[in-house]
């Protein structure tokens, strides 16, 4: 084993240990995170750490094809985060206590419009026409 290989081997081992520790810390935030966006942020971070793991495996084994796998995993993680953001936006708030910010933000949102019940019998469907003949 030459000196260069030894340097890289030790560095990769140390980096694997450090990445394991940070992976476990991030998993702890996913489990504990009090709200859904906290968990989404931690999952995004988890994707980044897994990309780091893939890069380290690429250095250890020498297969540079792993770079493409890392790029595609990053793409999937980005799309997942965007989809989660849309989901949070459409789901609304169910966890946070209703404070001042909640009032100012929901004040301008109109109520969903419902069909008025009075308009319904005056339709022109076949059942209504039959009733009118009688």
């Amino acid at each position: 084993m030459t000196t260069a290989e030894m340097i890289i081997s030790y560095a990769v081992w140390l980096a694997l240990v450090v990445l394991c520790v940070s992976f476990l810390l991030t998993v702890w935030r996913v489990i504990k995170g009090p709200t859904l966006p906290d968990r989404v942020v931690a999952l995004d971070m988890l994707t980044g750490i897994v990309i780091g793991f893939i890069a380290l495996i690429a250095i250890r084994t020498g297969f540079t094809l792993y770079i493409d796998i890392a790029i595609s995993l990053g793409l999937v993680g980005f799309l997942a985060t965007v989809a989660f953001a849309r989901f949070i936006l459409s789901r609304g708030n169910r966890e946070a206590p209703k404070g001042d910010m909640m009032k100012t933000l929901t004040a301008s949102v109109p109520e969903p419009r419902r069909k008025s019940a009075a308009r319904r019998p005056s339709g022109t469907g076949p059942a209504v026409r039959r009733k009118a003949k009688k």
């Binding site: 890289i8 450090v18 520790v21 935030r29 942020v41 995004d44 980044g48 980005f78």
Partner: protein, 114 residues
């Protein structure tokens, strides 16, 4: 001599990337609310994985691999702020509260201003 220099650069990049990931994970656990946690995760975490990818490119030592690693690095650096901004805007719009001691909320009356 040359390969020892290349190995040293790779080792520095690898250890730096892992250190940035560790800093991001510690920040994710120690910071008080969603928005500050997001600032730790999306900056330090992205730099961590990007440095590790660059280390793969330097270690391989040929130009196509290095170009692919560089492309991956730029891809992560470009997409991380977009996703973090989208998530922060969704969470703020829906009404997840800021940390109680934060001093400024510039998007407080965002709906009225636009």
């Amino acid at each position: 001599m040359m390969d020892i220099l290349l190995a040293a650069i790779t080792a520095v990049l690898v250890l730096g990337g892992a250190g940035f990931a560790l800093v991001a994970a510690i920040g994710l656990n120690r910071l008080p609310d969603l928005y500050t946690r997001m600032h730790a995760a999306s900056k330090a975490g992205t730099v961590g994985s990007g440095l590790l990818l660059l280390a793969v490119g330097v270690h391989a030592g040929d130009l196509p691999t290095f170009a692919r690693a560089l492309a991956g690095f730029f891809f992560f650096v470009l997409t991380a702020p977009v996703s973090a901004h989208l998530l922060a805007m969704a969470a703020h719009k829906v009404g997840y509260p800021l940390y109680a001691e934060s001093v400024r909320d510039e998007m407080k009356d965002y709906d009225k201003r636009i």
